[in-house]
Symmetry: C2
């Protein structure tokens, strides 16, 4: 394994420990509510947001313990967004990470409640952190606003509204990329900075915005070139369903050129920071080249 892979696995395992403890301790009735929450949380996934948060925490010299609940809350928010996004009246995806989507297992009503439950629980965890002082409140509110009506929810709403529109407009595509995808990546990266009194705030914000765009661009590329086996979700859907994607605006080759530029920009920003940024640079390259 490369150094990058060893570190990724270390961060991922640290997070999986916290998540397993959370799932084991999940105590709510009726059984189907607890089961439906755990089902989606335990489908696996790259855990890229928690990994990013812990890695940036290390770069800033932050005690990992201070970040674990923020990482957990953010992954709960990400998971709720996938459950609601997969619903028939949203993206209508029957598969997620190679397994049936939440609503295919538990039904649409229970899936709506599972999503609501994950979102609400994320904030209950973050309110507990707020007892530790105003930096903690600022970090919690930043995550909340990234997920909200001027963040991820705005991006999802725009994405839904633009389905089947004939013209793809760069401004609208930017809006969707920034809000639907980049905002939660930004939450992961900027949260440790806020907890460190704003250290490297503007650099990390710029880095995570570019990384978020890159993540969505490679998602669009994989929707054309990827395989169900690797991705664990339906592919080719965005094109056939008239979604607003980078492919429509820039073409496949244009998207790849843009993705290269974004990865380079990410690395350049990291080079301006003191400390060991090798892992974060590796992560930007991984996102550029990912096949899942």
């Amino acid at each position: 394994m490369t150094d990058y892979n060893i570190k990724y696995t270390d961060y991922q395992q640290a997070f999986e420990c916290v998540l397993t403890k959370f799932c084991d301790g999940l105590n709510c009735k009726p059984d189907i509510l607890a089961e439906s929450l755990k089902y989606s949380l335990q489908l696996g996934g790259k855990r890229i947001r928690p990994v990013l948060m812990l890695a940036v925490g290390d770069l800033l010299g932050l005690n990992r313990e201070r970040l674990l609940n923020y990482a957990l809350a953010l992954e709960l928010i990400h998971t709720y967004s996938l459950i609601h996004d997969d619903l028939p009246e949203m993206d209508n995806d029957d598969f997620r990470r190679g397994k049936p989507s939440n609503h295919k297992v538990f039904g649409t009503g229970n899936a709506i409640l599972a999503g609501d439950g994950l979102l609400n629980t994320a904030y209950s965890i973050l309110f507990s952190e707020c007892f530790n002082g105003n930096d903690n409140v600022s970090a919690a509110k930043y995550i909340c606003d990234c997920a909200g009506i001027n963040g991820m929810i705005a991006g999802q709403s725009a994405d839904l509204s633009q389905e089947n529109s004939q013209n793809v407009d760069e401004e609208m595509l930017d809006f969707i990329y920034e809000n639907k995808t980049a905002k939660l990546i930004m939450a992961a990266v900027v949260t440790p900075s806020i907890l460190c009194g704003g250290k490297y705030y503007s650099e990390l914000r710029a880095f995570s915005r570019d990384l978020g765009y890159l993540f969505q661009l490679t998602d669009d590329i994989l929707d054309v070139e990827g395989s169900f086996e690797k991705l664990g979700k339906s592919i080719g859907k965005d094109g056939t369903e008239g979604k607003y994607t980078g492919i429509k605006l820039y073409g496949l080759d244009g998207c790849k050129i843009q993705a290269d530029l974004l990865a380079e920009r990410c690395v350049k920003i990291l080079e301006g920071l003191d400390g060991d940024t090798d892992f974060l640079k590796g992560l930007a390259y991984f996102v550029r080249q990912r096949i899942y």
Copy 2:
């Protein structure tokens, strides 16, 4: 107008002012997202949770300004729960407050996002309050937990799971009443106590739990005896759809007897408190006798 009505109107208008300001200042894209949020918030309603919160604040001598954002957040949470509850795969209600439900106007996908957006915005408002100290954090977390997977969402999940079950069991009915309905009423009443360092905490908690049960009992009674014109929503649905209601367990007359007992218990608890509790007693009688 009676004293009770004058006071109710005063509290309601104070809250409507805050809500109007919030709606006017709502700045999010795309337009359909902002419109769908405002549509459901501005459908009217009794605003019983904000009214209760402000009235208990007066009883405890709390500055009203300290409560307005809590009242706003709670009404946003209540409104999100109605939007998601009205969805076809949940309660499937086409009408709310005499107007088409959110999903009938904006479609199911947008209604899911409107609900998510209201819930998320409620917590953004409450995180802002958390900068004001640990009592404020405790109050915010209390509201969050009342709305969560050991509160309202648990009640909705149980309600959904029990549809069409043949046997109505008292323990399950209690669970649904307490969580689906009483928890947000408790949030309204207990929040001012938490902000006053816990003054009358246990008495107010007991009062609001009984008032919440009473509210759901009269809801069940109105589903049999009420009219669409007064209620603004479909009636008789719970019976025909095999919902778990007090009517099935106790019969209509049994429910009325229980409702009388609950209203008396509410008044008795209030009589044990110092200060002017006439308005809150009046509110308990109003809930018992309500026709809308």
